[in-house]
């Protein structure tokens, strides 16, 4: 008989291989970091050779790229976009602003740590990170996917209440449903 656990392992292995080599990116162009996405995608650095490719809508995307500071107003849209993405999904935080607020750490309308509102799988350091760093971030994410450790989406589902509490703390007029499919 086929050992169920082992066969699942093989299937996961194949799926992870496919996921790793075909990351469709939804670049949510917040902040100044968005300007580094075009050089990453075009002929100088060519992320497509790694299977990284732009996706048009959240429904088709695997990877949400938050490129910089998030105002509370944008955060609402980002949450919506993230929840509309289909599993398995990953988030990359791009630039210092998503890590600790960066140079906007004391701004009245930006959030400081993206981690408290969305589950981030990989952070890319820098203000702003160069395309090499961005590609290093993609490679890191690929490693995590192979190891099966890029489980931000599962974490988000598990701790949804905690995330919701934080999100509602900064978004005063929460008019969305509890979960946006």
């Amino acid at each position: 008989m086929i050992n169920d656990k082992n066969s699942q392992k093989i299937v996961d292995h194949i799926h992870n291989f496919a996921r790793k080599h075909s990351l469709w990116v939804l670049a949510y162009g917040t902040g100044c970091g968005a300007i580094e996405i075009p050089p990453t995608m075009t002929s100088r650095y060519d992320a497509e050779r790694l299977g990284v490719r732009g996706a048009a809508t959240p429904r088709q995307a695997d990877l949400l790229l938050i490129t910089g500071y998030l105002t509370t107003k944008t955060l609402k849209r980002v949450i919506r976009v993230y929840e509309q993405m289909q599993d398995p999904k990953y988030v990359i935080g791009f630039g210092s602003c998503t890590i600790n607020g960066g140079m906007y750490y004391d701004s009245y309308n930006t959030i400081n740590a993206l981690d408290r509102y969305l589950p981030v799988d990989v952070y890319i350091n820098g203000c702003m990170p160069r395309p090499e760093a961005v590609i290093a971030g993609f490679t890191k994410l690929q490693e995590l996917i192979t190891a099966g450790k890029a489980d931000g989406a599962a974490k988000y589902k598990e701790k949804l209440e905690w995330y919701r509490k934080n999100q509602k703390n900064v978004i005063p007029n929460w008019t969305m449903p509890e979960y946006n499919w």
Binding site: S22, T57, P88
Partner: protein, 303 residues
């Protein structure tokens, strides 16, 4: 009975063949586009990886029944048109389920998929989908005219509406229709540019402008279905063109060479062209392509 089994088996084999070849062509097209843009580009098997990933994604979207059926409609169209297009000349295995009058049937069935897709995309309620659908249907109105004119010219000239007959005529004459009725070929070739939806005619699924249009609400397995059906359909269309204009193919290698050469036409034209607006695209097809179509019909009637 035996022959029926043979044709069913042939359909299955040609389905797998069409899927593989179509996907490889799509992957190669990404590679070629990348090389033209001075990039390295993804490996040629990238589309298989993409397809596997899309298939492994979960899908939790529900917009209504038509939304679920939309991709299935396109798949049905692709498989049906592949079923009636003979793959190889005089092969017991690969003639598929063609019959007399299949050209007319094909003209109908090829428009069936986009219509089903339009219903599916309409139900998602996404404004991008609605715009994409209107654009797609207007573009179809554009390129269907030279395409139908070319087919009618063929039918008048050779007095048949069966693909196999046309292939046999070319084999007997020893001359491709591409050379014996050049106007027909030109009209059909120009219509093909619109059929393949590469730039400048990628107005339907313009990724940056319309967020991929009709499929903007479809992810995961739905997108997988659409992707594989468009690959199958691409192979079916290329094979049809080879059958009608380039004398068919005697073995698979010749078929692949001919279809690939034909496939380069919309692809290379696309890589050097920006996108048209909808009315420009329609006006394009109603200009020279329709003129050549008319010329082809006149030629067929009077000579």
């Amino acid at each position: 009975m035996e022959s029926l089994l043979y044709s069913i088996l042939g359909v299955l084999v040609s389905l797998i063949l069409a899927f593989t070849v179509g996907m490889t062509y799509m992957g190669l097209s990404r590679k070629i586009t990348a090389r033209i843009q001075n990039r390295i580009g993804p490996p040629f098997y990238q589309n298989f990886i993409d397809a596997m990933k899309l298939y492994s994604k979960s899908t939790g979207i529900h917009h209504g029944v038509m939304h679920h059926l939309g991709p299935a409609f396109i798949m049905v169209t692709s498989v049906m048109s592949l079923m009636i297009i003979p793959i190889l000349n005089d092969s017991a295995f690969f003639t598929n389920m063609n019959f007399h009058g299949d050209l007319i049937f094909l003209l109908y069935i090829m428009t069936f998929g986009p219509l089903g897709m339009a219903l599916g995309a309409g139900q998602t309620g996404n404004p991008n989908s609605a715009i994409g659908v209107t654009r797609g249907l207007s573009q179809m109105v554009g390129f269907e005219i030279p395409w139908v004119m070319a087919i009618i010219a063929l039918m008048i000239r050779y007095d048949t509406s069966s693909i196999v007959d046309i292939m046999n005529i070319q084999a007997d004459a020893g001359r491709w229709i591409m050379f014996s009725s050049p106007f027909t070929f030109i009209a059909a070739l120009l219509a093909m540019l619109g059929m393949f939806r590469y730039s400048p005619f990628d107005i339907v699924g313009a990724p940056t402008e319309l967020a991929s249009g009709p499929m903007s609400e479809n992810g995961g397995k739905y997108l997988f279905t659409m992707m594989s059906s468009s690959s199958i359909f691409a192979f079916a269309k290329l094979t049809l063109y080879v059958n009608l204009f380039m004398g068919g193919a005697d073995n698979l290698l010749v078929l692949i060479i001919k279809t690939f050469a034909l496939y380069m036409v919309p692809l290379l034209y696309g890589t050097v062209s920006p996108r048209y607006r909808t009315e420009q695209a329609v006006r394009y097809f109603w200009g020279w392509p329709s003129f050549f179509g008319l010329l082809a019909i006149l030629y067929a009637v009077f000579f």
